[in-house]
Structures are given as structure tokens and as C-alpha cells.
Subunit: 762 residues, 2 copies
């Protein structure tokens, strides 16, 4: 510690020499480093990761949210979490699973007719075009309840969930083929494939099976097409991760396995546990599958139907020559095709080696019919030496491999060693090692699964944080460490806690490849991407009652909900369609009805429905749950649930008791505020504001707001003429409400221009 | 931009002069700043916020999770999120709402007999002792479904939820009294207090009411005591935030209001909206309540029972002299008692002023019976000028005020201006203003609600992020900006995106005041803090079947679950009690059964139960969902759901086909691995490892693991003597499994010692 401080002082003493002692001087910087105990290395790491206000991260990481059932989105190098996307678990902020439209997505994920309200997310994958990440779609799997979800990166919303029809668990998914023709999902723990079919463990070898599923993806529709998808049946080896071929190996996929011992544990019966029996043999099997041929086999009608799904049996797969095995050392986790598609790297977690297989050698052996044996199910097994390019000893517990932008450079995580190894897979030599804290699962480089890895950074997805962060109880955060891989030596830059879920794997994409929208076309159901039948335009809001069904077509805009009263009879089924009329970026409104357990998030342009049974009499406020303007607390209304047959006794609202003086004061306030607005407008138009797109958007929004005052002057003057001071005053006040929003936007724009060096124009 | 780079270059040119050009040299730093476009100011801000690996944040912030229904925990100054705590919304990572024990907490939050599966969390409060944060408990409210939750900061878990018995919505809670005698929660939108009672809006003045609830807190039990809690009925003004008195004002509380116009909107009927009608008058009312006297009134039996809850009516409150009103300008949000308890600051969001009330003057007026009027409900109203210390014009949209460690210094957020104002409340003058991005709601200083604010940092809880972060779709993150308040001028340090929910308010406490545990006493139900009846010790695991109820008493330890098979008949109700036998920090295990929609997080020592109906035949894997060791994928078992009346035809498991050679190879592997362990132990004991508590814990854990091999040598040798090579080999393999865990810990400890400057000892 003392040593670090001394180094830092040396640096900063030097730094201080050339500068005056202002509030932000180097003297000050030196004091900060001293006071905070930061070393010279720390300062450099800070400089490499800090993203100042108004600037943006270079890469975006999509991380599995582990047992949270969600996807985590964070920026690199700042490691700031930008969003949790609701995927398998209902999430109220996004209204996910709380509004009717998103409930329809979650319903697709029901299993055996029942809701599954969480997921154990594992492997995210970004859609690819020619093997490069294209930033259009994201896929993520659920290990616990074998499912796969599709997220559209235009709005970062989950659009589809598909249930694997034949597995009881899976782990290795999602992995995409070179042009996202298919999304690959492999089984994990073997079980009978036929749904709800029981066979005892004694019949493991005969009746339990694994497999790999190829989900057909329709990029235009942005949806998986279940009927065009298929699976290849595999022996009851425990399939783990997969990867799709690239370039020369495109058309093939690779899935490894562990517990090819097909061991059955039983501590309670005095048998050694699974952990012993599943790790007893020196090798397991890499499954090598020609998926292009498999797709043809399905097309030719040679697939069997299993639970209504296309299944290529082991027998057919052998007969059609599309399935091969290769021994792989021992209990491997990752199988990773190199960016050039020529090699396949397998890390055996109980072996110190990584094995580099040559696709060319594999093809040659297959072509030559050179097999060392068949497994118990008749699948041809290639000789390890016939397929191997090289093996490299890296250390204890190699798990998974990622690639650099530099040719032949790979990074492999070493779980037991708590290290990352940098090595050369062409020449088979170790280049560098770095300790991490602690026990790394997957490593992940920028665009590292693509044909063109971007290099620069590696993230170590560590499984334990232990002493790294302020303690927050027995359940500790996970930890991701950011590592600089731009030089010869790896350098640790940043420790990031993960606050929710244990992320299993992640993918990073260049931020500039993502082009999400900031608003929807007005009236869009974001979960179907189609016009929402409940959408209405401003002024067309209505409440329709048919029998005991009440349908409300409502709108939201700063700062009122129309209608402001919804009257129903107890027992009515109430559906409220909500359209956000805003055009401005980030002007989201929320909606809830007190104690009726519903919530919606309505972004600009979106229409969404909430539905509930008004099963209790009484008065229930509804309100906008987003702090959308200074008057957001006033953005509310009342749901009135009337007793059956209720008749009013009092039919007029209390008067507000306003005088002409009140009205005149309000009119003066409106004039004063307009003067402020005019002065802000004068400033904005005096500079080159049109060069700043964000300011142009704010100015547009400001004039949108001011435009809403149209007709209100006539209205309050009309009431004033009739000496209706309450209505006169309130409608004048409503002008002021719009003015406040206009002023708010104008001041925001002014600050932006001042801080971003706007220049005077003539 | 160019200008910033030039400044940075100047600094770094100077810095480079005194240093050699190593990989971490200043030259390199200069290159980094240039390449990343960072200014000198940016570098300083980075140095002020960066927390390097192995070091910790100075403060911990508890932020409301907004509509996510959770609490967010993050570190200051790094702004890294450490944890999302499940509170009102089920959260599977924590097993919250997915295991039976936490379901019991969520059940307490049911309203009118129905589950509420989310919350709109608003105001967290840390428990206080003598007005200072003590770090023992955290309270947070739900605006949408008026409820309050208690979180124990020993384990950061939600222990209790109470439902407000008389409100239909609330906003202003939680606020604690000086010694956490009571937790204060005020109503928001008026409604009839009697549950499920309907009155039309025309009877707003007569039948709708607001109120303030004082929840009695039993610190020893760590629970709210509903029967000793009470409310004070208030007029149908829209109550908002509250604060409890301190020092001289201890025993009193202050609650402001807006829409004291008691306006009823109705756009759909041509009436001006709520936003206009609720903001029409120049002043609203500050409610001043003597809660100590109110508690005595309740004790004396003078409270009315309303829905089974103690309610002091307006009439009684007036009669007992415990309720007063003071005018406050206009639609205020925050009411904040100064650290010395002498003043109460109110920010009127539609006025440019903050109003500073003097508690002394208020008391003098009350004592003198000097009232300016009574409101419509007969409550005495003090004159504004009789209560006011001073008023200060700060800018547009003042919302809420926080305090500095420096005497008389306060910070107020200006929503419309998008600024923070620093000002002096004793002398009534403005000191500084800083622009934020964009539209700040609450500001929050370190321990800023206590009698001893810690100064240093302020967080601006901004409502819009707009252009600050990489775009992630129409629904954007919220933004918290960290501001350095240690100098005369405020300085912006850091932009933090909030990825889930719109945090409304937050509290920060010195990290060293938190002393959470890293493990539970073995067999604890963490939700009741009592021994769990389902807990068992190692070796006592069992499955008990009574009728169609199956109860499993299971344990988890790296890397197996005991039992590894659970056999039930279809239709059985299955309860699995899970005890985590680990003692090591961060060795959490998870548990799920495939497709049965259950999940548990079991931290060291915890016992938790999951329950489901085995309503479908078949084979369902269960597994540990945490990556707890290199063999975590093998930490699994099978739930076998047998058809009614099923009888086995095959009763023996397949043999593993192991030879003497396999056994000998395993025995050799065990010996080789022991040699590695011995060498690591030799290193560790050669240095002063006992000076590092984290290493001592790792070494203890390592010997724990190695200790589990006891008796296994005799076991495998016994099987070998009988030439049972399968069992001999597997039990030897099981020794190796423990060795791998031991080696893992040893290597982790070794790295720690090397990186933290351990010294040789004799």
C-alpha cells in the first residue's frame, strides 16, 4: 500500500510542476490520489475506464442475468449497467408480465399448461450476418425450464419465448449459425424425450437421451419458426456447450459433453456422488454434426415426430452420415470455433490442457472413413490424434476460450487457478497469465464469438467476489473484471459487482452497431410490432361498456391521463388501453391502479392494455408512475367501483371559490412565464442550435408543448366574459402548465448549448 | 473537445517528465487521455471515483427501486450497484417468492385477500439511534399499494411487509423518528378510509380523507408491531412528504401537502385536468403534529377503530391540541428538518422559493394560541409570517432539500431548472448552482437526513437520461449524478445509469457502519431469524412419506446434493428442505427442479424449503444453480415421478466397467494432487498468512474440504481388496474431488498473499 502511494506521488509531483493551483489543478489530483490511496497503475486504469458525462461507452455487453431470468446490458469500458431486460421473469418497471401484451409473450413460455415465472439464463448470442455480429436480435436460453427467448434490439424488448419440446433441461444455448439461419440449443441432463414419460434410472442407457435442437429463425419476422425447427437425438451423455462452424466449417456444429460415463449417483444409497462418477474416465465426446445435411434430411421427411417436433434419431443420423464423435479430455465446458473457422478449441475442466482440433483433419478422416471405433449407440468415433492440431497445457480448470483481433491469439479461463491464460492456438504456446478474483467461469472478449473479434478488452466472469466489495450480507454479488488485452501483457482495469443474478455468459458488440429506436409509431403493440387495436388519438378517448365488460381507450401526455375518471360497477371486467401521445425521447409514462396489481410502462408512441376484475367496491386512484414532469403527481384519476344498483344523492362537485382577482393573477403569471420562454428562445436561436440534434429534438418537444395551449386563451377569456372565475382561472392555469413544460425543455436545451460550446450565429 | 484534450496534454506532458517509459508510464497515461478524449477535469473526476480491486467504497446508498418494487444498493463514490434486494416483487435469484419461507413474507403484503406482486417503492429510510444512522434496519414504502417493508441489514433480507389498513395510496414514507420509535407513512390521493367503501367524487370534502400513519417499531424483534401503531386522520389535502423532528423538535413530525384545493378533475367532461386545478392556489398546508402526544392519546383509549386500526380523528386531534396547519407556498414536495432540529425547510415546486420555518416560532405561536384562522375542518392555522425564519429564491421547481456537514449549508433540487442549488439556510443566501442532466427529483447527501450529515458527496436523482448513455431502446435508464460537495463549488464527478426501475429517493450511510454477516447459524430460517424445523446435519438427510405428502430433508455442499434421487408418486405434494452445510463466505448454493417453477438461494448455514405438487409423471433433474465449484454441473439429482402403481422391471444400475488399472491411475492422481496441495500449504505457512483474515478463512475452508476425505481412503482400499474396481475407483475419485476444491482455495489464498505483500516468516 505504502509503495503504491509513493509511486503515485512521484507521478503527480511531476504532474503538478507545470500547472497553476486551481480548484482542478494537478496539486488537487495529487491530493486526491494520496487521500484515496491510489497508485499510478490505479490512475491509469481509471483513465482507461472512466466515461465522462455526455460521452458514451465503446462496447455494449449483453450478459445473462443468471437466476434472475433476465438479460443485463452494460457498457464497456465503464462497466455501468444500462438495463435489465425482462425475459423469463415478470418485471414490473417494464410492465413485463403486468400488462396484457407482454403477458402474451410470457404465456408462450408456459410448460405443461402452467406458468413458469423465472428462468436460469445462461448463454446470450447476438444475431450474425456473415459471421459478424449485426446487432439486430439477441437470443438467450433458460437452463432450468428448457426455453429460448428472442429479444429485438430495435427496442430491447422480449418478443418471443419457445419451449423446447423434448428436453427437461439444457445448458448450451443460444449459439447462432453464420447467418442466423438456426439458433442452437443442446440438452444437459439426460431424460426420456417423450413428454411426461417415466423410466427408472436403471434404464438410463436405453431410455434416457440427450440432443441438439436447431431452431429456425425468420429474420424478417424476427421470430423463431417452430415447425421448421428440428433436433438431432444424442446418447445420454450430458451435452454442454456448442458452437457453429464458420467459413470453411460453416454448415457444421460442435457440441461437447461430460459424464459420458452415463453414471448414476446415489449418496443416499452409499453410492459415490455424481461428481465422482461423472469424472472418472479420461475422455468424453465431442459431437460433430453436419446441420446443413440434417436440415435436408428433415426436409426429405426422414425425421420422426416426437411431441410434435422434428427429431432425427441417432439411427437416422448415423445412416445419413451427419453425426460423428471425437474423444475430448476430460469433462470439457467450452467448445469454441476459431474466427477463421479452421480450428475448434475444447477446454477440459479436469485436464490442464486445451485441445485444438483441426476441421480439415476431421473432414479428411470422415471422408476417408477412418474411425477408431463406434460408441455404444453405433456412432462412428474419430481418433483423437487424427483430429487434433495441437494440445497446450494452460493450468488448472480450463473452461472456455475467447479470441482476440490478433491472429492466433486466444484467452482461456482457468477456474481452479483463478487465472486467465493468453495463448497462441496456431503455434500452441502460452503467452501470458493474469490472476483474477476469484474463480472465473467464462471469459469474454469484444465480439469474441464472431469471425472478426474486436480485441481491446476481455471480461472475466468471476463466480466469487468474497473480499472485493463492501459486504451486503451472506448473498454476495457476482463479479466481472475488465481486462485490457491491447498490449502484450494483460492488465486488470476494473472490478464490477453484478447486483442481481449470477451471469453465466455474455456477449459484447460495438456500440455503434446498435441502432435502437427512441419512440414507436403511435399506437404500436410493441410485443407484436403491429398496430394495437386499443390505440386512440388525442380527443378520441372513450369508455365503452358492454354488459359487465368495460373497455377504456385512454391517452397519456404530460401531465394528465384522459379520462380522469373511470366509473364501473363492482364485478365488471375492466380493460384499459393506454396510448402515450408523447413524441419526445425518454418521455415514458407508467400506469397503475391502486391495489389492483397491474402496471404498465408506456414509452412514446406505445399502446398497451391492462386488465383486471373490479371485484371490490370503493375508490381507487390511478396514476402515472414515472416522474414525467414537475406536475407528475397530479397526473392521476379515480377508478370508482360502485355497489350494484347505487344511485347518487349529491350530483354536483364543490365549487373552487375563485375570484376575478385570482383569474387576473393567473393571467399575469402566464404573461410573465411567456417572457421567460421568449428570452430562452431568443438565446437558443441566437446560437447554432441546429447543429445539435439533441437540442433540435428538445426544441421540437418544447413547441409541441406550447402548441397544446392553442384555443385555451379563447376558452378562459370566454369563461371570464361569463364571470365563471373558476373555469376562467383553471383554463388559464392550464396554459401555465404547458408553459412550465416548455420552459423546462428550453432551459435544458440552453444548458446543453452552453456546456457543449454553441456558437453565436447572425 | 479539442480544448479539453490540450489541457490534458499539458498535465500529462508534465507528468511524463519524471518517469521512465514502462508499460504503465505517464507517457502511456497521456496516450490514453488523448485516445479517449478525456480532459484534465475528467481525469480528476476519474481519480475521485475509481475504486481499484481489493479496495472498497466509502459509503453505501440504499435507493428505492421505483416500479421494480425492489431496493437498490450501490457504493459511493464508485457508483457500482452491489445488490438488488427483493422487497415487494418476487425475485428468483434470491429465491424471493419462490421458496416457502420468503413466500411467507410476501403473503403478509396481500391486500383484500389477493397477492400483490409488485410495488412502486419510493422513500427508503435507515434506522436511527439518537438521530444518527445506525445501519441496523432499512424501511421502504410502496406508493401504489400502500405498504411498508422492513429489511434487516444484518443479511440484507426483507423480513416483514405491513399493509396500511386505511389508505388507497401513499407517497411520503418511510421516515423514522429520532430513535426509530415510529416509522412515518402519509397518505397521498384522498379516498374513503373505510375499506371497500364507495363514495362519489362529489362527496370528496365530506367523505374522502388523508392521514399520517405512525408504525411502531420493535427494534429488538426487528419487526413493526401493528397493534401498537396508529394514524392521525387528515383532511383530503394530498399529503406528500414528511420528516420527523430532531433535537429540540423531537416528538413532532411535519407533513406537507398539495392540492389543498381539493380539486376534482375531469378532462372527459370538459373540466380542466387535475394538473390545473390542483395548482391554482398560492399556498397549501404544512401539517404539524405532536406524535408523542398522539401516542399518549392512543394509549389513553381515545382513538377510534378503523378497519381494526387505531385512528385519531381530526376532531380528537384538534381537541387534544396535537394537530396544526401552516400555509406553505405552492405545491411543495420536500419538507426537511435541519440537522440541529431548529428549522423546517419546505420547497414549493411551483414557487421559486424555499421557505425556512422556525420550530421555536411555531411553538411560541402554538403556546400563545396565535392562529390566523381555522381550515374547513376546524384545524388551527398558524400565520405564515409567525412561523417563518426566512424565504430564499432559488430557481424554478425547487423540490427537496438535503444537508451538508458544514453548518447551515443545504442543497435543494430545482426540477424545471435542472440544477442543484447550494445555499445557506441560516442567513438565507444562495452559495452556488450546478447544472445536472436532466431534471432532478430528489438530491441526496451522505447521511443527509441525520443529525450528523457526512458531507463530501451529493447524488442528483435525475429523472431523464436522454443523451447521456448508449441508447438501449425507447425505455431509457434513469440517471444518478455524483457531485463533489467538499469544496466551495460543486463539481460533477460521475454519471450513473440506473438499469431497473425509477428510483425515487435514496439514503447513504458510511460503509463502516454496516456489519452484515457472511453466514447464518446452521439451520436458520432467514425470514423469521429462528431455527428452521426442516434443517438437518450432514449424514442425517432423509425422505419421509406420509400419505401423499413427501418431505425431503436435504443438504448441499460442494459439489453434491444429498439425496441424489427423490422418488415420488404422481400427485404427491413434495416439500424439500435444503440446508447449506458450507461455512465459507460466498459459497451459496441454488436449487431448482426442472419445470416445477421453484427456486431457492441457500447461503452458508441457511435452511429453506421449496414445495410443489408432483402433478406430472416423468423424470425431472434438479441441480445447484450457482457455479459453486469446478464440478458444479455435476451437483444434481433426479426427481422421479412414478405413475400410480408402477412396478420396476429392471432393478440394477449399469456397471461402469472399471479395471484395476483405472483404480491405480486414480490413486496416483490423488497422490500427485496432494503433492501440489502440500507445496501450496508450504508457501502459505512460510509467510505471515495469519495477518490476513480473508486468507485465514480460505485456509480454514480448504482444510474443511480436505477433512471431508476422512474415511474415504479406507473405503476405496476396502473395495479394492474385494476387487470391486468400480467402487474402489469412484471413492478414490471422490477424494480427488475434495482435493480439487482444496487446491482451488489454496491457490486463491496464495494469489491473495502474493498480491498483498505477504512477508516471509521463520
Amino acid at each position: 500500500m505504502k509503495k503504491f502511494n509513493k509511486q503515485a506521488s512521484t507521478l503527480l509531483l511531476a504532474a503538478g510542476m507545470g500547472l497553476a493551483a486551481t480548484a482542478w489543478s494537478a496539486d488537487n489530483l495529487q491530493d486526491v490520489l494520496k487521500a484515496r490511496g491510489l497508485s499510478q497503475q490505479d490512475l491509469l486504469a481509471a483513465a482507461k475506464t472512466y466515461v465522462p458525462t455526455g460521452k458514451r461507452d465503446e462496447f455494449v455487453t449483453f450478459s445473462s442475468g443468471g437466476q434472475s431470468g433476465q438479460v443485463i446490458v452494460y457498457g464497456v469500458p465503464s462497466m455501468r449497467i444500462l438495463k435489465y431486460i425482462g425475459v423469463f421473469t415478470p418485471e414490473p418497471w417494464q410492465g413485463y408480465g403486468f400488462d396484457e401484451n407482454s403477458k402474451n409473450v410470457l404465456k408462450q413460455g408456459r410448460i405443461d399448461g402452467k406458468d413458469i415465472t423465472w428462468g436460469d439464463t445462461h448463454h446470450p448470442a447476438v444475431s450474425e450476418t456473415n459471421g459478424e455480429y449485426d446487432g439486430q436480435f439477441l437470443f438467450i436460453n433458460d437452463k432450468a425450464n428448457p426455453r429460448l427467448a428472442v429479444i429485438d434490439l430495435r427496442d430491447f424488448e422480449t418478443k418471443q419465448i419457445v419451449v423446447n419440446p423434448i428436453y427437461k433441461s439444457e445448458h448450451g444455448g443460444a449459439f447462432v449459425t453464420t447467418n442466423t439461419e438456426y439458433v442452437i440449443e443442446a440438452a444437459q441432463y439426460p431424460a426420456p424425450l417423450e413428454n411426461k414419460k417415466f423410466f427408472p434410472l436403471e434404464e438410463m442407457n436405453e431410455k434416457y437421451r440427450g440432443g441438439v435442437t436447431y431452431w429456425k429463425f425468420d429474420r424478417k419476422e424476427g421470430r423463431i419458426v417452430a415447425k421448421d425447427s428440428f433436433s438431432v437425438e444424442l446418447p445420454p451423455y450430458w451435452q454442454d456447450l456448442s458452437d457453429a462452424g464458420k467459413g470453411p466449417s460453416d454448415g457444421w456444429s460442435f457440441t461437447n459433453s461430460f459424464c459420458s460415463e452415463r453414471y448414476v449417483g446415489g449418496i443416499e444409497k452409499g453410492r459415490p456422488p455424481y461428481e465422482a462418477g461423472c469424472s472418472a474416465k479420461d475422455t468424453d465426446y465431442l459431437h460433430v454434426i453436419n446441420w446443413k445435411k440434417a436440415a435436408e434430411v428433415v426436409k426429405a421427411g426422414k425425421a420422426k415426430q416426437m411431441n410434435g417436433h422434428n427429431l432425427i434419431t441417432i439411427e437416422t443420423a448415423i445412416k445419413e452420415g451427419l453425426l460423428y464423435l471425437i474423444p475430448e479430455p476430460k469433462s470439457p465446458h467450452g467448445v469454441d470455433v476459431t474466427p477463421d473457422g479452421k480450428f475448434i478449441v475444447v477446454a477440459g475442466k479436469l485436464d490442464t490442457h486445451v485441445s485444438v482440433y483441426s476441421f480439415e483433419k476431421i473432414q479428411a478422416a470422415i471422408k476417408a472413413g477412418k474411425f477408431e471405433s463406434k460408441d455404444s449407440y453405433g456412432i462412428p468415433v474419430l481418433g483423437l490424434k487424427d483430429a487434433l492440431h495441437t494440445q497446450v497445457s494452460l493450468g488448472l480448470g480450463p473452461l472456455h476460450t475467447q479470441y482476440d483481433s490478433k491472429p492466433c491469439v486466444a484467452y482461456t479461463s482457468l477456474y481452479v487457478d483463478s487465472r486467465v491464460a493468453k495463448w497462441n492456438y496456431c503455434e500452441g504456446k502460452v503467452l501470458d497469465k493474469l490472476s483474477v478474483h476469484y474463480n472465473i467461469g467464462h471469459p469474454m472478449t469484444m465480439e469474441g464469438d464472431s469471425t472478426k473479434p474486436a480485441g481491446k478488452y476481455l471480461v472475466a466472469l468471476n463466480k466469487l467476489s468474497i473480499d472485493r466489495f463492501v459486504p451486503v450480507g451472506p448473498l454476495q454479488p457476482q463479479s466481472h473484471q475488465l481486462i485490457d488485452i491491447s498490449g502484450d501483457k494483460m492488465q486488470l482495469l476494473y472490478d464490477m459487482p453484478l447486483p442481481l443474478g449470477e451471469p453465466h455468459y455474455a456477449v459484447s458488440i460495438a456500440a455503434n452497431k446498435l441502432k435502437p429506436a427512441v419512440r414507436y409509431k403511435v399506437g404500436t403493440d410493441s410485443r407484436t410490432d403491429k398496430p394495437h387495436p386499443g390505440a386512440v388519438r388525442a380527443g378520441e378517448e372513450k369508455t365503452v361498456k358492454k354488459g359487465n365488460k368495460v373497455e377504456v381507450f385512454a391517452t397519456l401526455i404530460r401531465s394528465h391521463i384522459t379520462p380522469e375518471t373511470i366509473e364501473v360497477d363492482v364485478g365488471d371486467e375492466v380493460t384499459i388501453h393506454l396510448t402515450n401521445l408523447e413524441r419526445a425521447q425518454d418521455e415514458t409514462h407508467g400506469f397503475t391502479v391502486s391495489t389492483y396489481n397491474t402496471h404498465a410502462s408506456i414509452e412514446p408512441g406505445k399502446t398497451v392494455s391492462v386488465k383486471f376484475k373490479a371485484d371490490k367496491e370503493g375508490v381507487y386512484p390511478y396514476y402515472c408512475t414515472e416522474f414525467c414532469s414537475a406536475l407528475h403527481l397530479e397526473m392521476m384519476g379515480y377508478l370508482l367501483v360502485k355497489p350494484k344498483g347505487w344511485k347518487p344523492t349529491k350530483t354536483t362537485l364543490a365549487k373552487g371559490n375563485y375570484t376575478e382577482a385570482d383569474y387576473k393573477a393567473t393571467v399575469k403569471k402566464v404573461a410573465d412565464t411567456q417572457a421567460i420562454i421568449d428570452s430562452v428562445v431568443a438565446y437558443i436561436t441566437s446560437v447554432n442550435y441546429k447543429d445539435f440534434p439533441d437540442v433540435v429534438a428538445m426544441v421540437e418537444d418544447a413547441f409541441d408543448q406550447l402548441g397544446k395551449t392553442k384555443g385555451l386563451k379563447e376558452k378562459h377569456e370566454g369563461f371570464a366574459a361569463k364571470k365563471d372565475w373558476e373555469n376562467a382561472n383553471l383554463w388559464a392555469e392550464q396554459i401555465w402548465q404547458y408553459q412550465v413544460k416548455t420552459a423546462d425543455l428550453g432551459l435544458r436545451a440552453k444548458t446543453y448549448l452552453e456546456q457543449n460550446g454553441a456558437k453565436k450565429v447572425k
